[in-house]
């Protein structure tokens, strides 16, 4: 397994754990309105929110910076990963729009959802980056590398 691929696995697992932790914190604390009123919950969510991309950077940066561990094939995969990231973010935003429209309709969406959309987008983006790298390795193992 290539060093970048190994790191992408670690990053994906940690990203998913952070995402599950975020949902668990919300479920345990009540509902979304609690987020607005409970400072402790907000701080916990912000810590998890910042933790996800920070962990990604800590895991991925050393391998990307060491040129001997990343060659042209890894770089090609790394360059293609944002395609998965773009799709994941697009789908998550579509899901948010549909869900919020169905739930609130013309009554107006509470402002707190803007923060939640931002948090989920960042977490999904980080997870999708790792997933994109792993899909790149998987694809290169199944189809040829020519375009």
């Amino acid at each position: 397994m290539a060093p970048l691929q190994k790191r992408a696995w670690y990053s994906l697992v940690i990203g998913i754990v952070f995402a599950i932790a975020l949902v668990a914190v919300f479920v345990a604390s009540g509902d979304v309105t609690t987020f607005d009123e409970n400072l402790g919950l907000r701080l916990a969510v912000y810590a998890l929110w910042v933790g996800t991309p920070l962990t990604y950077l800590i895991i991925m940066n050393p391998v990307i910076r060491k040129s001997k561990q990343v060659d042209e094939r890894d770089k090609l995969i790394l360059e293609r990963a944002p395609r998965v990231q773009y799709l994941a973010i697009l789908f998550s935003l579509v899901a948010w729009v549909i869900a919020l429209t169905e739930v609130f309709g013309d009554k107006g969406v509470p402002v707190i959802y803007l923060t939640l959309i931002l948090i989920s987008t960042l977490v999904i983006s980080t997870i999708a980056q790792s997933a994109g790298i792993l899909i790149g390795y998987w694809r290169m193992g199944h189809v040829n590398g020519q375009e």
Binding site: E72, M140, G141, H142
Partner: protein
């Protein structure tokens, strides 16, 4: 000979003809990872022109002796 669409390569044969050179040694000398050598040998990845030249230099041959483009 490993085929990748119309590009084939003789890397595996050339490695054995060059003192049973390991994939890791070839990777080190061509400045790429062992995983890339494995992918090229299996015909799952076509290297860039610069890596193709580096590989052929390691074997002391021309690019055409390592890679072939089938018309």
């Amino acid at each position: 000979m490993v085929r990748n669409n119309r590009i084939t390569n003789n890397i595996r044969r050339l490695r054995f003809e060059n003192g049973e050179m390991s994939q890791q040694e070839l990777a080190n000398r061509a400045e790429c990872t062992r995983q890339t050598i494995i992918a090229i040998e299996a015909g799952k990845y076509v290297p860039s022109l610069s890596l193709a030249f580096k590989l052929s230099r390691v074997f002391g041959t021309n690019v055409e002796d390592v890679f072939k483009y089938d018309e």
